[in-house]
């Protein structure tokens, strides 16, 4: 169905500042019935803030929002939701102690003193989930879900309301291609019912696949709105970044040196079994697979977060047992985890404090932390990663998602690791920052660092790796040079038997 001309959601002159930071500056937006409206912009451009204002989570300083010509000013979250606006949150807002079913319907129970029937609730949840083609046990607690599963619950929750406009703030950041395909199917269904979708993503190919219209924000300001069909990728990037961007994947030369790490027969019951590979200095080993294939579990074992049941790990040719992350760091292993909110940074700490957390002991002079030594390292890292913050003292929790990720990477780099494990390092990162991280990987590689790259984005995996290891259901399926890898071939190996 073609998008109609009827505007369901209208935003005018919206501005919002946080403690001196201008997150939105006179922004406008028109969303039409049944269209997929992509909202694009770099990390920190103000996309999430705008969406949070729409659903009533954040109050704007000035400006107004109309849903079907009715102003939403002064309405509560509940009232706005009841008028037909729902949202998939970037931060995955689930209550860890509640079950999937309870989270799905949270805030939508009939009355405050109403009677709850968990059996009925579970049945309804199971129905909703299966209608969306999702395989999730409604009785599982949210805290036990992987982040991909959490994201699926968020999606199911937003879609199961009878919303007229659904906001999706990076709904696919934790999903692999298969689930993305499921989501796109759902979005098509929504369009057909006349539901408008505001879609935020940093994945260009998704925009061209489903967006009808694209609005671009830059530094909190409205830049332009165009039909998606009229926008080439390079033009879109130019609008977002304000300049042309060179090639995404930098040219690198493979100059693999001595073996840094090797594992043989590594097994952890219930997660993966019999994994063997080696990584060399100056080499990028890619690790691919579908969601739940066991890649994160391997990384956790290598970093001492979990213990293997059997198998050996050698570092620099020495057999080692890595019992804690501290030991891993001492060996020279760095890890950027996939769940940056849970285990990546300390929200209340500043950018500075987070950056130096893993290497603080190197800044000690006469028993005290030297502010100048620390400050110098921090300034260097902020510049080299182009971290966008009001300064080194800004709390990391206030940064946009992409900049938070840069802080986490910066922290690992400051500990000068010889092997870096990157688990979905570009999740939620804008195209410009992505290019920077790719250049960073190339630079680290050139400096002789060994890199284990886990990614669900196949182009990224192919574009950056020297060799690629494919896992399916915890088993090693293939280990091939990147030159022999194509997306089709990798997918073929990754599919469960």
């Amino acid at each position: 169905m073609e998008a109609s001309q009827e505007v369901v959601l209208r935003v005018r002159e919206l501005s919002k500042s946080f403690a001196g930071i201008r997150a939105l500056d006179d922004v406008q937006l028109d969303v039409r019935r049944g269209e997929v409206h992509a909202l694009m912009g770099e990390n920190g451009a103000g996309k999430s803030t705008l969406m949070k204002i729409l659903v009533g989570l954040v109050t704007p300083d000035t400006g107004e929002v109309w849903l079907e010509n009715q102003s939403l000013a002064g309405l509560s979250l509940r009232e706005i939701r009841d008028r037909g606006l729902s949202m998939i949150h970037q931060e995955m807002l689930l209550v860890p102690e509640l079950t999937v079913a309870q989270n799905l319907f949270l805030g939508r129970e009939s009355r405050l003193l109403g009677w709850l029937d968990n059996r009925k609730l579970n049945a309804r949840a199971a129905e909703v989930l299966s209608r969306m083609g999702l395989n999730l046990d409604p009785a599982r607690k949210a805290r036990d879900l992987s982040i991909a599963e959490m994201q699926l619950v968020e999606i199911a929750r937003a879609i199961s309301t009878d919303a007229r406009v659904i906001i999706m703030d990076e709904p696919t950041s934790a999903l692999s291609d298969r689930e993305v395909a499921v989501l796109f199917g759902l979005i098509k269904g929504l369009k057909a019912r006349g539901v408008a979708v505001i879609y935020i993503s940093h994945k260009m190919e998704e925009i061209s696949a489903i967006a009808d219209t694209v609005t671009v924000l830059r530094d909190g300001r409205y830049i332009a709105t165009h039909p998606a069909a009229e926008l080439s990728e390079s033009k879109l990037i130019a609008l977002m970044v304000g300049r042309e961007l060179g090639t995404l994947f930098p040219e690198t030369v493979s100059a693999a040196g001595a073996e840094v790490l090797s594992v043989s027969g590594l097994t952890r019951a219930g997660a993966f079994s019999d994994i063997s590979f080696a990584i060399h200095a100056g080499e990028v080993l890619g690790m691919g697979g579908l969601m739940g294939a066991g890649r994160t579990e391997i990384a956790r074992v290598l970093y001492g977060l979990d213990q293997p049941d059997s198998g050996g790990i050698r570092f620099d040719g020495q057999a080692v047992r890595i019992r804690t992350p501290r030991e891993a760091i001492r060996l020279g292993i760095g890890y950027v985890g996939e769940d940056r909110k849970a285990s990546g940074f300390i929200p209340k700490m500043s950018v500075r404090e987070n950056l130096t957390l893993g290497s603080l002991t190197t800044h000690v002079r006469k028993g005290l932390v030297s502010a100048s030594s620390e400050g110098e390292a921090v300034t260097r890292m902020i510049e080299s990663l182009k971290i966008k913050a009001s300064g080194p003292e800004q709390e990391v929790v206030q940064l946009s998602g992409g900049n938070q990720q840069k802080v986490v990477i910066g922290k690992v780099l400051l500990a000068l690791p010889r092997l870096i494990i990157l688990d979905e390092p570009t999740r939620g990162i804008d195209i410009g920052a992505k290019a920077e991280i790719y250049r960073l990987i190339a630079r680290l590689k050139a400096e002789g660092c060994a890199i284990l790259l886990i990614s669900s984005e196949l182009p990224e995996l192919i574009g950056l790796s020297d060799r690629i290891l494919i896992l399916a259901q915890g088993k090693q399926k293939a280990l091939l040079p990147a030159s022999e890898a194509s997306q089709e071939r990798l997918l073929h190996y990754a599919m469960p038997a």
């Binding site: 989570l57 931060e91 509640l98 949270l106 805030g107 939508r108 968990n118 579970n122």
Partner: protein, 322 residues
């Protein structure tokens, strides 16, 4: 993730006890005491323990609600005193019918709770400070209202509430059972209860889901104040006097019972069964130590050791299953 897992742990019974370890620890203490003193495992002693536990348990139920939402209430001990004194002032013989002191006492506690809830929801002052403030204020008011003197000479009808028996079982035990059931139902079977877990588990997510944070918090503090008042009225009736310094440091016992029972101070978890068991554990230990005639100084040491020990046992058990 086959379909059959759908039935797994599905609805959960009303009185589910997730912490078998605690039950085990409790039973271990009981068996230990039964073996060492024949006076422990008697019907009469069981009645005594339950009666003694009831006052603390009522407070602990209220505190459990609050802690589940991620808050804390230090004022319950003082509310026991104020509402007890207020109730006593209306409970002299041949003045008002017995319903009057009960209602007035309850209203006093509800007012304190509502005040706590109001300040917590409309300022950024941490609940610890708010309720510490009302704790001090409450104690002062109890002394002012009673002029520092116990309020005595209470009617028989009033003294029956906490001192009488029905069908051979003390009133306090009946009330304990009824209030426990009510609180368990609120927590597990009503939307309000679900929202308590949600607010304590992730306040931001709850807000984004449209959970009425303000209402939920107002509700838990008010409930807690009401339960403290009930506790205060029953205490007053049991000792036949409204005492301005009743309930000193009761808040600590109540919080302890809740936490032993598995309520986490960071919010989002806790059950009424656990809290009841926590209160019972404390009651049984203190009863047992008296029965064994352990010197009062050593009692404290033993009490401390057993409490830590019981919770260690409980946590070992949880770890194994996790």
């Amino acid at each position: 993730m086959e379909n059959n897992v759908l039935t797994y742990r599905a609805a959960g019974p009303l009185l589910s006890l997730r912490r078998y370890g605690l039950l085990l620890a409790f039973l271990a203490v009981c068996i230990g005491l039964s073996l060492t003193t024949p006076r422990f495992l008697t019907w009469q002693n069981a009645t005594i323990i339950l009666t003694q536990v009831s006052i603390n348990a009522l407070l602990a139920f209220g505190v459990t609600f609050v802690i589940i939402t991620g808050g804390i209430d230090l004022s319950v001990g003082s509310v026991v005193a104020v509402s007890g004194v207020v109730a006593a002032s209306f409970a002299h013989p041949d003045t008002y019918p017995v319903i009057v002191p009960v209602v007035v006492g309850l209203l006093t506690g509800l007012a304190f709770g509502a005040f706590n809830g109001f300040v917590v929801t409309s300022s950024k002052v941490p609940p610890f400070i708010v309720t510490l403030g009302t704790m001090t204020i409450g104690r002062g008011l109890a002394l002012i209202l009673s002029k520092g003197r116990p309020v005595s000479n209470l009617s028989d009808a009033f003294n029956f509430l906490g001192g009488g028996k029905v069908l051979g079982v003390p009133m306090l035990i009946w009330i304990l059972i009824a209030v426990f059931a009510l609180c368990a139902v609120i927590l597990r079977k009503t939307v309000l209860g679900r929202y308590m877990y949600a607010v304590g588990g992730n306040e931001q997510a709850s807000r984004a889901s449209g959970v009425p944070l303000r209402t939920v918090k107002m509700a838990v503090y008010t409930l807690c104040g009401g339960l403290a008042a009930l506790s205060g009225i029953l205490l007053t009736s049991r000792i036949t006097t409204g005492q301005p310094n009743a309930g000193l440091s009761f808040e600590l016992d109540a919080i302890t019972a809740a936490i032993i029972g598995g309520t986490s101070t960071s919010g989002g978890t806790g059950t009424m069964t656990g809290t009841l068991l926590g209160a019972l554990l404390i009651g049984v230990i203190s009863n047992g130590l008296d029965l064994l005639n352990v010197s009062s100084y050593y009692q404290q040491v033993v009490m401390g050791v057993i409490i830590i020990g019981a919770v260690v046992l409980d946590s070992l058990n949880q770890t194994k299953k996790a």
